[in-house]
């Protein structure tokens, strides 16, 4: 954008010399005011948004023209040419602002739309995650309890009195490992349990060793040891009647507890 002030400097100098005398052929500031007015007034956007400013520019321009034709002092023409140029600039800025304001309105709607998309994508993702978790819980035959998610591994894991895992247990361990891989923020507490046959201390030790065997098997499958703690309940927490063979079989077990992570699990309880 050409600054009309720039053109004024040499003219002002000339003015001092010419005073009220005869006029030269052209005045640069008037020429440039005319040019910027004609380009601005032929711009649809400026004509639409800043008609009043364009009118004011036109009035000033006409005044400058008239003074020039009437051979008034050059500085008077200069003055109105300056006013006209400034009015044109004002018109351009007003038009730009109004265009921006209109865009802003559309963009605010666009933003709302995008925000909604983002939110529903988040809901979808959370739902998918919940479904994925539910499927794995079914796989592990886990239950959601007050302690968190509890997967119970039956006595098929171990031979009687033994603490090393049977080969046939690996399917069950795999499921636990898969779950822990899918939900890397989860930690696990592995609890060993026995029936009430035999010595208390022996049972405590046996349950501890078995819990630790499960931990070792998980670590061997790539689960970080730092996510897994073990403990032993021995025969202290039976879930069935120890007076029957079936009850004792149920009591011999390893429980893998995944404590709740705030809201993460709450969706699963229904």
């Amino acid at each position: 954008m050409k600054n009309p002030i720039v053109t004024t400097l040499p003219i002002a100098a000339v003015l001092v010399l010419t005073a009220c005398g005869g006029a030269p052929k052209k005045i640069d500031s008037l020429e440039s005011a005319r040019a910027s007015y004609s380009s601005a007034s032929s711009n649809q956007i400026i004509a639409k948004h800043a008609a009043a400013e364009l009118d004011a520019a036109k009035v000033a321009l006409n005044k400058a023209d008239r003074l020039w034709r009437e051979k008034e002092k050059r500085s008077h023409t200069e003055h109105y040419a300056y006013v006209a140029s400034q009015k044109v600039k004002i018109a351009q800025l007003i038009a730009q602002r109004k265009e921006d304001d209109a865009r802003l309105e559309n963009m605010n709607m666009e933003r709302q739309r995008v925000q909604l998309d983002a939110r529903s994508a988040e809901v979808d993702r959370a739902r998918e995650e919940t479904l994925a978790m539910q499927k794995q819980l079914e796989d592990m035959q886990a239950e959601v309890t007050a302690r968190g998610i509890v997967a119970t591994l039956g006595d098929v894991l171990f031979d009687v009195g033994q603490t090393s895992l049977k080969a046939s247990s690996s399917v069950n361990i795999d499921k636990i490992a898969n779950f822990m891989r899918s939900f890397p923020e989860r930690t696990a507490l592995i609890e060993g349990h026995t029936d009430n046959m035999g010595d208390d201390d022996f049972n405590l030790d046996l349950a501890r060793e078995r819990a630790f065997s499960v931990r070792t098997a998980l670590v061997a499958r790539g689960i970080a040891g730092s996510r897994i703690t073990t403990s032993s309940r021995g025969e202290a927490s039976p879930i069935a009647d120890n007076n029957t063979a079936e009850g004792r079989r149920k009591n011999r077990r390893v429980e893998v507890v995944f404590p709740d992570l705030g809201t993460q699990v709450s969706g699963l309880t229904q």
Partner: protein, 123 residues
């Protein structure tokens, strides 16, 4: 410095216009209008958003006051009129800047949300 020089060109032109042959009354209306225009510009935030335009307007207004006190009324009238359009320009520029900044801000936030969305969709 160069700017000041250029500006003084305009001022000189305006002052020279007082010259010999005029009998203009004191331009009370023009001076009041330029005062109002300056206030409007400041309200619009021109102090920060259009400081150069605002300063130019203020300088011309001060010179108009001086000219008026010396009874150079035509000079005072022209300077007041220029101060007024300069102040209007400062106001228009400030408002345009604010709207442009608002547009940029919303554009940025839309882009951010979209990027976020794309990234989580890619997961």
């Amino acid at each position: 410095m160069y700017k000041t020089l250029m500006k003084s060109g305009v001022l000189l032109a305006a002052m020279a216009s007082v010259a010999a042959c005029s009998s203009t009354p004191k331009p009370n209306t023009e001076m009041a209008l330029s005062n109002a225009a300056l206030q409007n510009a400041e309200v619009a935030g021109a102090t920060e958003l259009a400081p150069i335009e605002l300063r130019t307007a203020k300088e011309k207004q001060a010179m108009a006051d001086t000219a008026a006190s010396k009874k150079k009324f035509l000079t005072a009238k022209h300077l007041s009129e220029q101060a007024a359009v300069d102040a209007e320009l400062a106001k228009a520029k400030s408002e345009a800047e604010k709207s442009r900044a608002a547009v940029t801000e919303v554009e940025d936030s839309i882009r951010m949300i979209k990027t976020e969305l794309d990234r989580s969709n890619a997961q």
